[in-house]
């Protein structure tokens, strides 16, 4: 994960959604969204297509009006404020650069709309500065169609940030780039965000992108917020099954609470074995779902010694995939169904004969798993 240097996001709120709902006819695109965007943070909306993340962004930009609820930017209610009067700018998915203007004219477009008018020399200076910021100094007089995809993306970025928006909105800006260029752009985008200190709000369906870039991520599904938190919180403490499934990979099992102690709970799994998992306080259900990450589980031969307190689940290897630094095992347990286990290459070297068909023990350490909250 990228180290965060310089402008740390504070607790100051730059924008806020208050019970914001958007309906398109019978379709509920955004369902009572309530959250705050902190000044200077990098916030991502993450979710599959149709989850409402783009609708949320478009409401913030002013392209869609909320059906109910409010949106505040810097404490001001934005309900009736049209897009062209909002202190936010957007980088569009397909960039939406004006094809009849040069690169410099595109970047200066927002400044030319200012009233009272901005002096020509001042516009030119700001455009020049923005071009330098995205490393396109020599390209000001180029036509848009003469630019490559990555360059167009940087023009779109410069066209937005030159206006010094309070929030920069990014609508899947990396979706059209190939993998290598995407990684490069992600790094550049982060550097830019840290040096400018502008609040970035990114919409993406790429969880790796969200995990590696964001200060906080807002996971969305079916028009609702499933969970909002730092990448680490989402990965280690997913609030419910949807989040556990969407962020990273997880084995999700159902069981019954046997006992609780502190932050832990003992859960009886089908087949009669118990596991000890982390459990949020205040949950009074008996039947629960638990999640465990594939890398939190271990593998051992049937003859190996098992440490005290660890749970052993016998299973048969159904597939073994070499991933470079890790080996992924797919196993089938008679009681629990399919299980995934991710073993580091180092640990794998110590073991032998774990081919398809081998009968192994899946080792589950206490606290490796997490009890999931109810989905609302």
């Amino acid at each position: 994960m990228t180290g965060h240097i310089g402008n740390r996001p504070g607790d100051e709120t730059v924008a806020e959604f208050v019970e914001t709902t958007k309906r398109f006819g019978p379709v509920l695109a955004a369902d009572r969204l309530s959250f705050r965007i902190r000044r200077g943070e990098f916030l991502s909306f993450l979710g599959p297509s149709g989850c409402g993340k783009t609708t949320a962004l478009r409401m913030l930009a002013g392209f869609e009006a909320p059906t109910e609820g409010q949106i505040l930017i810097d404490g001001q209610e934005m309900g009736a404020t049209p897009a062209y009067r909002r202190p936010v700018n957007m980088v569009f998915q397909q960039y939406a650069l004006f094809p009849h203007m040069t690169v410099a004219q595109n970047i200066g477009y927002g400044l030319r709309q200012r009233r009272p008018r901005m002096a020509k020399a001042e516009i030119a200076a700001k455009v020049e500065n923005a071009l330098a910021m995205v490393r396109l100094t020599e390209f000001g007089n180029r036509r848009i169609w003469e630019m490559s995809g990555g360059q167009q993306q940087r023009v779109a970025l410069a066209r937005a940030i030159v206006n010094e928006p309070k929030i920069l909105l990014l609508d899947e800006p990396m979706a059209a780039l190939d993998a290598k260029l995407r990684a490069e752009m992600q790094r550049e985008l982060l550097d830019l965000q840290r040096s400018l200190g502008i609040t970035f709000v990114l919409v993406t369906h790429d969880q790796e992108e969200a995990l590696s870039m964001s200060d906080r991520i807002c996971i969305m599904g079916k028009g609702r917020i499933a969970q909002i938190g730092t990448p680490l919180e989402l990965y280690d403490q997913p609030a419910n099954r949807y989040v556990a499934d969407f962020v990273g990979r997880a084995n999700i099992l159902s069981g019954q609470i046997v006992s609780r102690e502190g932050g832990m709970a003992r859960i009886a799994l089908p087949g009669g074995r118990d596991v000890v998992v982390r459990a949020p306080a205040g949950d009074t259900r008996k039947d629960v779902e638990i999640a465990v990450r594939p890398e939190a589980l271990g593998l051992a031969s049937a003859s190996d010694q098992i440490p005290d307190g660890h749970t052993v689940l016998p299973a048969e290897v159904t597939r073994r995939t070499f991933l470079g630094d890790h080996i992924e095992y797919l196993l089938r347990s008679a009681d629990l169904g399919p299980l995934q286990v991710l073993v580091p290459r180092q640990a794998e070297r110590a073991m032998r004969g774990h081919d398809v068909g081998a009968r192994l023990h899946v080792i589950w350490a206490p606290g490796a798993g997490l009890m999931l909250g109810a989905e609302d």
Binding site: A61, P82, A83, Y84, F92, L97, F98, Y109, G110
Partner: protein, 267 residues
């Protein structure tokens, strides 16, 4: 197959070719080639009746094309923002207007205008001593009405191909709807509007049927040619026909190029 295609093209273009060829005749016959000369072109261009008819045609074509471009573009913009049944209805009417035979438009416009004049003229005469009659105005109205639907179709096609995100980007960057239209929409659909203008101009300039009904005392070039033929075809008529054809083809080619250029820009 190739023979068949050749026959079709010969059938299509041979008569036109013959007119162009015979316009170069040095003799008096319009149907026999008697030496090569461009004297009939000079004769045509020096004929004051031809020049007056040409001037009338150009004026009618220009004014009706301007009218059609402005009104047609406005209609296309309005239709783009429209949805559902209302839009389907307007679409149908625009398409039908393009397909109605000229003779129907001619008769219909004539009857409509005459009826309107009959009602309006007594009042108008009493008030100002002036009467409405068929002539320049009715020609412009009839041509403009028909060619407007051409402009609607062309501009609408371009509007539909226009990326909605460009309009949103302009809004997002601080431009209201009027500023966005002026700086983004208009420059991007300008080639289509110009192509529509040129097509309208060509249509009006070439039209005989509609003009024949509504021209009143005005004589457009096609009407002049038609009335000259009744006095006998001379190579002068061939020369006029050839010039009109070349001018029209030229305008159509320019219109096509405008549309292509607009397409290339969008890529």
């Amino acid at each position: 197959m190739r023979l068949y295609a050749t026959a079709v093209y010969l059938f299509l273009y041979l008569p036109i070719g013959i007119i162009a060829l015979f316009s170069l005749s040095a003799g008096r016959s319009a149907t026999q080639l008697q030496g090569i000369s461009i004297k009939w072109y000079g004769r045509a261009l020096n004929n004051p009746f031809v020049m007056e008819a040409l001037w009338t045609s150009v004026k009618v074509a220009f004014v009706s094309a301007v009218l059609a471009s402005v009104v047609g573009t406005m209609a296309a913009l309005a239709l783009t923002g429209m949805k559902g049944r209302l839009r389907a209805g307007f679409d149908l009417m625009v398409h039908v207007a393009v397909m109605i035979p000229g003779i129907v438009i001619g008769i219909a416009t004539l009857i409509a205008l005459v009826s309107v004049f009959d009602i309006v003229n007594p009042w108008l005469e009493a008030a100002s001593g002036y009467r409405l009659s068929m002539g320049f105005g009715s020609l412009v109205a009839a041509h403009g009405l028909f060619t407007m639907s051409l402009v609607v179709l062309i501009v609408r096609g371009r509007m539909e191909a226009l990326d909605r995100a460009l309009i949103e980007a302009s809004n997002d960057l601080g431009a209201g709807s009027l500023a966005t239209f002026r700086q983004v929409t208009l420059p991007l659909i300008a080639p289509a509007i110009l192509a529509g203008f040129l097509l309208s101009f060509t249509f009006s300039f070439d039209d005989f049927i509609i003009a024949f009904f509504v021209a009143g005392s005005e004589t457009t070039l096609p009407i002049y040619v038609f009335s000259s033929i009744r006095r006998g075809v001379t190579p002068e008529i061939n020369a006029i026909g050839t010039m009109v054809m070349v001018a029209s083809l030229g305008l159509l080619i320019v219109a096509q190029l405008m549309l292509r250029r607009g397409d290339a820009r969008r890529q």
